[in-house]
């Protein structure tokens, strides 16, 4: 079972200079982002990785450079072999080639990554936000956006928190003569 995977890993390492990492039995290859389409095509055509099971990204904000890793999980169904590919993408020009031509189901995964991480995919047929609204600003799964928690409201900070909300009318917004009611 492992032989087939080893052969694929050795070939990719030799041809594309990939770096191999193993953790808890997961084989991960770290590639240059330019090589991702030829590597996927080779794995699909020559090594029977017919299926893209998963595609996601990880943001290593202030931890690693390049900042983003796009993570692919390729799957060979007969022997249930799984191979992880990682392509580092720098913060300055966050783009990578789209693999929609190789695996058609990458379409939505790549839209999701663009939506939530802001990594662009070159050659994607319809790179639009998928989860969030079109007019949303920013990419929420990036690590520089904090996990927001609403502060607990007590009697001493009630108004302060309330006024911070966009939909609450501030005193200066109210027409003259009308006073804000005490809550």
């Amino acid at each position: 079972m492992k032989e087939k995977l080893n052969k694929a890993v050795e070939t990719i390492k030799e041809k594309f200079g990939a770096e191999e990492h193993v953790f808890r039995g997961h084989v991960t290859l770290i590639l240059n982002r330019e090589d991702i389409v030829p590597v996927c095509r080779m794995l699909r055509d020559e090594f029977d990785f017919q299926k893209l099971t998963d595609e996601t990204a990880v943001d290593y904000y202030q931890r690693k450079t390049p900042r983003f890793h796009v993570v692919y999980q390729l799957h060979s169904i007969e022997e249930d072999l799984r191979l992880w590919l990682r392509a580092p993408v720098p913060e300055e020009d966050p783009f990578i080639d789209s693999i929609v031509d190789v695996y058609p189901n990458a379409n939505w995964y790549e839209r999701e990554i663009w939506d939530l991480f802001g990594v662009r995919f070159k050659g994607h047929p319809n790179l639009k936000r998928i989860m969030l609204a079109e007019e949303w600003e920013g990419h929420p799964l990036r690590k520089d956006i904090p996990v927001k928690v609403e502060e607990t409201r007590f009697s001493f900070n009630w108004e302060e928190i309330d006024l911070g909300k966009k939909y609450v009318k501030r005193e200066q917004d109210l027409p003259p003569g009308e006073e804000k009611e005490d809550i």
Binding site: F23, R24, H26, T28, Q50, K51, L52, T53, D54, T56, V58, D59, R63, V71, Q73, I77, D80, R82, W84, Y103, P104, N105, N107, W108, L116, P125, N126, R129, I130, M131, L132, A133, P140, L141, V147, V149
Partner: protein
Amino acid sequence: MTTIHDEVTEVSLKELEGLVSERAIKGETMLLNMGPQHPSTHGVLRLLLELDGERIVTCRPDIGYLHTGIEKSMEGKSYQKVEVMVDRIDYLNNMGNCLAYCLAVEKLVDLDVPPRAQAIRVILCELQRIASHLIWLATQALDLAAQSVFLYCFREREYILDIFEMVGGHRMMATYIRPGGLWRDVPVEFEEAVRDFVDHFPARIQQYENLLTENPLFIDRTKGIAVISGEDAISWGMTGPSLRGSDVNWDIRKVRPYSGYEQYDFEVPVGKNGDVYDRYIIRIQEMRESLKIIKQALDKLPYGPVRSNNRKFVPPPRSELGVSMEAVIHHFKLWTEGFQAPEGAVYVPVSSPRGELGVFLESDGSAKPYRVHWRVPSFANLQAIQVLAKGHLIADLVAIIGSIDIVLGDVDR
């Protein structure tokens, strides 16, 4: 006023380019919005349909209405606290979600699980599979205008939810499966309740089958609809009954057994034609196979602890806190700062009622997960609806949406 109106139409037409065919832009075919508020989309799903008469030319799903940012929220909580949110992702497969997450954490920190806990996990997950398939059967039949099946299915599902309430205190969001084992052992009434269900349920399945399997109206609406070949299904990333309907014998419980599935003897039902009817037959068969697994697991149910003894990751039982200082320290440490996981990324797939449910868990060595990604089956299966619905009548679309069994909470996360 006309200028504003013109502007609006121009923008919306541009947005449609690439999504629908040229003919729709010219006005030869009709564009129709189905959803997001529609009774047969099984949640808040919007479909943009391009229709030529009553035939569907293109079908573009628009998702995200239920997006809750659950993956982001998980990054801000410790490993134990994340689990409360896990139930809510796929709200028809709560136990399965917990199992996937717990297996991922256990793999990450290399934690053992006692055999009794593993067997109980299997029983609960198979009960959950039946409950999920019952909801699917109920809604699928209702979409095709068979109303009594809906009521019967919900009646039987109550029994399963009662069992969940008995073990975990909550009908749906029990969070009963925990990293390292279970929250507590099952009560004494558990075995009898499950056996009672296992004894009575086969007759009920037969009842559904009497109503649907050979019903000419049901067959007319489902046979030959939304056919997909095995190769196409694989290349679109479909898993679960939607893939097995297309004659691909692949189930994670068989190829990569987890939680002791290798001990149980069961079949993986496979279809031939890959149409809506085959997916229906497979899910009915799967309910029977699940009963087989539950029965075997109950017969073999070993005695012993239900939680790992590794105190660095699993809190000590309440009884120890009064007598052991060490237990107090562990309890305090685990419930305040949590446990640290080694640096690395793991992925654990389990077989959910809809297909492959996987958890990608990356740790940076701290007490909170650095990145949690859910590889959800509904997301992958829904994407393929663009291929499945092509060329079919709009009336068949509800059967097609039903047959891939989507849960929108699962799709949008």
